[in-house]
């Protein structure tokens, strides 16, 4: 059976998805639950209008299906033939939506009032975007790294220069000896191991 759209200008269709919301813990939807719904809606009306006269009888339900879905209209407590306009019902539902959802252990998605869209959660805008914080940390580490690098290379240079000027005299000799075989040797030449008598063996 295709679902009917009633010509009910002041009514709302409610759709409940118990299995989607609760899975295995889903309770059975029966007449007692319907009564609970009427009571919750009456509470919502009371809360919004701040009139203590709304009662479960003022909430009329019809076209209940096994989906579970049904229509409801709200009658005025003073005059049961007069219906409360749609806009007012909507305001009442929006005000107590959270309470209604929690009463049935459901959410905006699983307890749907067709026509009343859930208000979107206000986005949380932190003062500093979180990515800037991480960026700051990384850039800080990089800067420290670069500075350390530059300092260490400066120190190395200074050490080399000091080393060079100290054995400035030895440099000449070392160069001369070092080029012996056409190869330049780095570091200080240890004369203790000079092979002076290479060619004078007997």
């Amino acid at each position: 059976m295709v679902s009917k759209t009633l010509n009910a200008p002041n009514g709302y269709k409610v759709r409940i998805s118990l299995k989607t919301a609760l899975g295995e813990d889903a309770y059975e939807w029966n007449q007692s639950e319907m009564f609970f719904f009427q009571a919750t809606m009456a509470f919502a009306m009371r809360r919004h209008f701040q009139m203590e006269t709304y009662n479960v009888d003022n909430i009329i339900l019809c076209v209940q299906t096994s989906r579970v879905s049904f229509w409801f209209v709200v009658t005025s407590p003073d005059n049961t033939t007069m219906l409360i306009p749609k806009a007012d019902v909507e305001k009442a539902v929006r005000m107590s939506r959270h309470r209604i959802n929690n009463a049935f252990l459901l959410s905006d998605r699983t307890l749907e009032f067709l026509g009343i869209y859930p208000t979107l959660a206000a986005p949380v805008n932190p003062d500093t975007p979180p990515w800037l914080i991480v960026f700051g940390v990384v850039i800080g580490a990089v800067c420290v790294g670069i500075i350390a690098l530059l300092i260490s290379s400066l120190l190395q240079k200074r050490r080399k220069e000091k080393g060079m000027t100290e054995d400035g005299q030895d440099e000449e000799d070392m160069q001369v000896k070092g080029v012996e075989n056409g190869i330049n040797l780095d570091g200080t030449y240890n004369r203790g191991f000079t092979d002076d008598d290479r060619f004078t063996k007997l």
Binding site: M1, R67, P130, F135, I146, K157, V179, N181, G182, N184
Partner: protein, 651 residues
């Protein structure tokens, strides 16, 4: 076939390259101030890092899946053996033998071939520019992963809080985040869109990080690679374990590897396999030559080449498996969502109790309802849910990493952790490849003497990084994404094929395969066997030539198009195919032409200079000595000791 007429005369050549005796002396006395690897592991990790890059993660899995899954392994492995390994061995051997960077090696073989080295340098430069922008994108996503709800998991609310932002609603949160909040992309390449400040910050930090790692050459990169080359494997393994425990992962793996043998008849499969092997090995960039030149002379380059090829191929397959477990999971989730959406629509329309229609009986129920209420069913516009179409969605390139994979991550529990891990992995993969790219730029610059000799290594590296960073600002504009694909398609493809072909021909026929065989025998102790002879002489150059010709013809025939993100286009969110404006052709010519033409142009230039100045060839060679190797040899010998008898073996 020796082509003796083309071969370089022995005497000239021997004056330009170190002889065996000189090499032995260098080896034994550890003379010369050329940098050296601390140990073999550093060398291997650096090469593995250079070869294993983003392409293994986001190009190979796509090729594998689109060319018949498991069947693609066959052309891939065959071409790996026939094309990849020989070229790799060649580059390792020649670098190790001549002990210079790319410009140095080629000008030593013959001055007219300097163009090959210059071409390598240009390509390395162009690729470095855009590759580091991808690193910047990865860093941006990395910075944004430190939030409980990942920013790309939901659409932002619009200005007056009435609904979600329209562009996001029509496409998807991940698409919106990538195209709007990350790139802030313009509808076409003509609008530059200005510099995006957040991207500029990431861009600068990417270059700064790179600078720290390369500031002292292999002294610093050698340490960095211990992390950048090993971390990706650890992360891939973690993802594999996580992936296999997710629902639907095996669907992905099956989809990837299901062989379709008919694809082997398709020539594009073989071409794509060849191109993938070639680009995946980072050949012709000059980086491999440089890295090998820091090795000891008797290092077994043959063994290295085989090991690296195996590692590269295995990593590609491994990464593909991991990626597809996650893609399988995402596709299954999307499929489930699609079916659930349809089921819900049916339940709501027909007021059926929950649980009446499930995934199993969906088709049955739909069929019976269609029989009784056909108009209603039509009016519902139920989506067709096809698992295979979800599996083949946008799974290559940046789309894979920044759209598909990030979406999959949002569906996993504890998403920020997986996001952080994934982007660290991508960053390490890219950074280790950047080391090789930059090496291919810095060493030739030093060889050419562009920088004054008094400048320390850090200054040279720093200047290059600052320059590249500034030029790379093109890629962080609104239209940066389009520029990047332009550079990638034209700068990083055709010129490499030309250069690699010239390298092979240059070594085998100009340097001389006999001399090369002797060199290898000197270095590793035995002559290269028949396999190497055949592949070096005929097979590999032939394959390169065929791939080049086909690539060239395809690129030249097709009108260059690009895919633009245009919220106003009709088929939004599908990317709009647009033609490049006419001034782009000048840019394309610069990108593809200059590196490619540098080979003949430099040869002609040197020839003309030689002829018109009529100088002695020998005299000129001194200009081309590298900075990294001691230059004093000739000077000292002639200056200080003109009459030493022992220098008969030297110069």
């Amino acid at each position: 076939i020796q082509l003796k007429c083309l071969q370089v005369s022995n005497q000239d050549l021997e004056e330009r390259i170190p002889s065996y005796e000189e090499l032995e002396k260098l080896e034994n006395e550890e003379a010369g101030d050329r940098p050296k690897w601390d140990n073999k592991a550093q060398y291997m990790l650096t090469i593995v890092g250079f070869c294993v890059g983003l392409g293994n993660v986001w190009r190979f899995p796509y090729l594998c899946q689109s060319h018949g899954g498991g069947a693609f392994m066959i052309p891939f492995l065959i071409l790996l053996v026939l094309e990849g390994v020989p070229l790799l061995h060649l580059e390792f051997a020649i670098g190790q033998r001549l002990r210079k960077g790319s410009v140095g090696v080629w000008s030593a073989i013959h001055p007219y071939l300097t163009g090959i080295g210059i071409g390598s340098m240009c390509v390395s430069f162009l690729v470095s520019l855009y590759y580091n922008t991808i690193m910047a994108w990865v860093m941006w996503y990395f910075f944004n992963s430190f939030q409980e709800t990942l920013p790309w998991s939901q659409c932002p609310v619009n200005a007056n809080m009435t609904g979600l932002v329209s562009e996001c609603e029509r496409s998807s949160p991940v698409d919106y985040y990538w195209y709007r909040e990350t790139l802030n992309t313009t509808p076409d390449i003509d609008n530059t869109g200005g510099l995006q400040w957040w991207m500029v910050l990431c861009h600068v930090s990417a270059w700064a990080l790179l600078f720290i790692c390369i500031s002292r050459g292999i002294e610093t990169t050698g340490k960095a690679v211990y992390i950048t080359s090993t971390l990706p494997y650890a992360v891939l393994t973690i993802f594999l374990i996580r992936g296999l425990t997710l629902k639907g992962s095996l669907n992905g793996v099956k989809f990837l590897f299901t062989p379709d043998m008919n694809e082997l008849m398709n020539p594009t499969t073989w071409l794509d396999a060849g191109a993938q092997v070639f680009y995946s090995f980072s050949l012709a960039f000059g980086g491999l030559l440089s890295f090998s030149s820091y090795n000891s002379v008797h290092n077994n380059c043959e063994q290295d080449a085989v090991i690296i090829s195996i590692v590269n191929g295995a990593t590609a397959v491994y990464a593909a498996t991991v990626i597809y477990t996650i893609i399988g999971f995402r596709a299954t989730e999307k499929f489930d969502d699609c079916i659930s959406g349809n089921i819900l629509t049916l339940l709501n329309t027909f007021d059926l109790p929950e649980g009446n229609v499930t995934e199993n009986n969906y088709d049955q129920v739909l069929h019976s309802l269609n029989g009784t209420y056909p108009e209603v069913i039509q009016g519902l516009n139920l989506k067709t849910c096809d698992l295979n179409s979800f599996l083949s969605e946008g799974v290559e390139g940046t789309g894979l990493a920044f759209i598909v994979f990030t979406e999959a991550i949002t569906k996993m529990p504890v998403s920020p952790v997986w996001s952080v891990l994934f982007f660290i992995m991508l960053f390490c993969l890219g950074l280790s490849s950047m080391f090789g790219n930059i090496e291919g730029v810095l060493v030739p610059l030093q060889d050419l003497g562009v920088f004054p000799k008094s400048w320390p290594k850090e200054a040279i590296a720093g200047t290059t990084c600052v320059l590249c960073c500034l030029v790379g600002l093109i890629f962080v504009q609104g239209s940066g994404n389009y520029w990047l694909s332009l550079f990638d398609s034209y700068g990083g493809s055709i010129p490499l094929l030309i250069i690699a072909f010239c390298e092979m021909v240059g070594v085998v026929y100009l340097y001389g395969i006999d001399r090369f065989n002797d060199d290898i025998e000197f270095m590793i102790g035995h002559k290269p066997n028949l396999f190497w002879q055949i592949t070096w002489r005929f097979v590999s150059p032939a394959i390169m030539f065929v791939i080049f010709v086909f690539y060239f013809i395809t690129k030249v025939q097709e009108t260059p198009m690009y895919k633009a993100w245009n919220p106003e286009s009709e088929n939004f969110p599908t990317l709009e195919e647009k033609e490049y404006p006419s001034w782009i052709f000048a840019i394309i010519f610069i990108l593809a032409g200059i590196p490619g033409l540098s080979v003949p142009l430099t040869a002609i230039y040197k020839c003309l200079r030689n002829r018109c100045c009529k100088k002695d060839n020998e005299f000129k060679q001194d200009d081309l000595n590298t900075i990294a190797k001691q230059v004093h040899l000739t000077d000292e010998a002639t200056k200080n000791k003109p009459d030493i008898p022992e220098t008969a073996d030297g110069r």
